[in-house]
C-alpha cells in the first residue's frame, strides 16, 4: 500500500507516494529525481547517502521515506547558494582535488557542511571524528581534510 508523504527537499515542498518499505534514499533518487545522493553499501556503513534531516546528518538508506513526513531534508543538490555559485566546500573540494571517483563526495560534503555549521574552526581531530562515518577509498582523506580546512577559512573570511 502506498502512502502519501509531504516534506520539503532543499526548501521546496514535495509530495510523493511511496511504499512503506521504501528507503528515503530510494525515494530521493527514484521518486524525487535527485540522484546526487549516492547508494554505496545500502546498510549504513559507508556514509555515501548522508543527507541532513531537520539539520541532523543521517544515512538516507537507514530511514524510511514515510518517516520524512513533515520533515526538512537537505541533499547535496541544495548545497550551492545560487545557480551559478558554489558552496565554499564544493569550490574547495574541486581546487584541492578532494574528489576522485566522486561516489563518496556528496555524503562527505553534507557531513562537512554540518561540521562547519556547528564548529567553524575544526581541528584535524574534529574533522576525523566528524567524518568517521564516511568512507572514501580513493583519496586517503588528506585532500578532503585540506579542502574542509580551506573552506573553513574561506567561510570565515566572507562571514559578515
Amino acid at each position: 500500500m502506498k502512502r502519501m508523504v509531504e516534506f520539503t527537499v532543499n526548501g521546496e515542498a514535495r509530495e510523493m507516494a511511496v511504499n512503506g518499505c521504501c528507503s528515503l534514499l530510494d525515494a530521493l533518487r527514484d521518486e524525487v529525481g535527485l540522484t546526487g545522493t549516492k547508494k554505496g553499501c545500502d546498510v549504513g556503513d559507508c556514509g555515501a547517502c548522508t543527507v541532513l534531516v531537520d539539520g541532523e546528518p543521517v544515512n538516507a538508506c537507514l530511514m524510511l521515506a514515510v518517516e520524512a513526513e513533515g520533515r526538512a531534508v537537505e541533499t547535496v543538490e541544495g548545497l550551492q547558494p545560487g545557480v551559478d555559485r558554489l558552496h565554499p566546500l564544493q569550490d574547495a573540494f574541486m581546487r584541492h582535488g578532494a574528489s576522485q571517483c566522486g561516489f563518496c563526495t556528496p555524503g562527505i560534503l553534507m557531513m562537512a557542511k554540518k561540521l562547519l555549521d556547528d564548529n567553524p574552526h575544526p581541528s584535524d581531530e574534529d574533522i576525523r571524528f566528524g567524518l568517521s562515518g564516511n568512507i572514501c577509498r580513493c583519496t586517503g582523506y588528506t585532500k578532503i581534510f585540506d579542502a574542509i580546512k580551506s573552506a573553513a577559512r574561506e567561510m570565515e573570511a566572507t562571514r559578515p
Binding site: 511504499n19 518499505c21 546498510v43
Partner: protein, 287 residues
C-alpha cells in the same frame, strides 16, 4: 529491499496490539539502524514493522539525585551522547555512546533499541550493567521493571514476551564517590563492533572500594558480570596487586567464542588487559 508493510502506532496499547495481532514476522521499528540492515541482508524475515516514533511520552530525559537518569525508548544515542550530564556523571555510558557506529547512525539509533537487539557485543549494555540500570517494560495488562542483568536470556534474546515494549531505562544516580569507565577494543575506532568491551562502575569510601561492578561485553552469550573478580576487590584499596589478581580472575569468568573478529584466547587475554585499565581509568576520577 525485501518488501514489508509499515504500521504507525499512535499509542503503546496500539503498538502492543499490532505486535500481537499481525503475527510472527512483525517487529518494532524504532531507530531502524539494525532492523533495516537485517532486512536488507536477509538476516531476519520481516513482514510488518510497527513504528513507535510517533507515540507521545517516550522522548523524555530526566535526572534527579534520588532516582538517577531516566530516558525514554525514543531517545537517540546521539542525543544522550551530547548531554553534559551524561558526560559528567556517566563517563562509562558516554564512552560507549560515542563509540557506537557513526554520527549518522547515532542520530537514528536508540539506546533502548541497542539493548533490545541484545547483541553480546552491544556497546551500551556493559556500562548499563555495571551501573545496575533498570528496564521499564509495558504490556497491555501491567508494567514491569526488570534489572538489566536479568533482561538478557541469550544472544539476541530477552525476557520480552510478545506484545511487550520497553518504554525506557533508569540508571541509578552517580554519587561523588563513584568512578566509571568503558573501554572498547576493536580493529578500528569508527564503525566498528566491539571485539571486547569492559565497563567498570566503582565506589570509593575513604580510599577503600565499597562497591564495584565489572561488566564484560562480547565474551559470552550475553554481557557478563565478573562476580568473583568484584568480590576480590571490594574492601581493598584497589592497589596494583589487587587489580592484577582480579583482572586474572575476570579472564577465568568470561566465556568467549572465536569468530571472524577474534579468537577466544585473544578475547580472554584482552579481558585481563582491559579490566585492569578500566579500573585504573575509573579511579582517575578521584585523582
Amino acid at each position: 529491499m525485501r518488501r514489508f508493510d509499515y504500521h504507525r502506532a499512535e499509542t503503546l496499547e496500539h503498538a502492543s496490539r499490532l505486535l500481537t495481532e499481525l503475527g510472527d514476522d512483525t517487529f518494532l521499528f524504532n531507530g531502524g539502524t539494525d532492523l533495516l540492515v537485517e532486512i536488507r541482508e536477509r538476516l531476519r524475515r520481516v513482514r510488518n514493522v510497527v513504528d513507535i516514533k510517533q507515540i507521545p511520552g517516550l522522548s523524555d530525559i530526566t535526572y534527579n539525585e534520588t532516582r538517577g537518569l531516566t530516558f525514554g525508548a525514543l531517545v537517540t544515542v546521539g542525543r544522550l551522547e551530547n548531554l553534559s550530564l551524561v558526560r559528567q556523571r556517566y563517563p562509562n555510558l558516554r564512552s560507549a555512546l560515542a563509540s557506537l557506529g557513526s554520527i549518522q547512525v547515532r542520530n537514528r539509533a536508540t539506546v533502548v533499541g541497542n539493548i533490545c537487539r541484545a547483541s553480546p557485543s552491544a556497546d551500551t549494555i556493559p556500562p548499563l550493567v555495571a551501573d545496575g540500570a533498570f528496564v521499564h517494560i509495558y504490556s497491555r495488562t501491567n508494567m514491569r521493571v526488570v534489572p538489566i542483568c536479568e533482561f538478557f536470556t541469550g544472544p539476541g534474546r530477552t525476557v520480552l514476551a510478545k506484545g511487550e515494549i520497553v518504554t525506557g531505562i533508569t540508571v541509578p544516580p552517580a554519587g561523588d564517590n563513584t568512578g566509571k569507565a568503558y573501554l572498547k577494543h576493536g580493529r578500528r575506532k569508527a564503525m566498528e563492533l566491539s571485539t571486547v568491551g569492559v565497563a567498570v562502575s566503582l565506589a570509593m569510601d575513604d580510599g577503600v572500594c565499597s562497591d564495584i561492578r565489572i561488566a564484560l561485553g562480547a565474551v559470552g552469550a550475553t554481557v557478563l558480570r565478573a562476580p568473583q573478580a568484584e568480590a576480590m576487590l571490594r574492601g581493598t584499596r584497589l592497589d596494583a596487586e589487587a587489580v592484577r589478581s582480579a583482572a586474572d580472575k575476570a579472564m577465568e569468568e568470561c566465556t568467549p567464542i572465536s569468530n571472524v573478529r577474534a579468537s577466544a584466547d585473544y578475547r580472554r587475554d584482552m579481558v585481563g588487559v582491559l579490566t585492569g585499565r578500566a579500573i585504573k581509568q575509573a579511579l582517575e576520577t578521584f585523582a
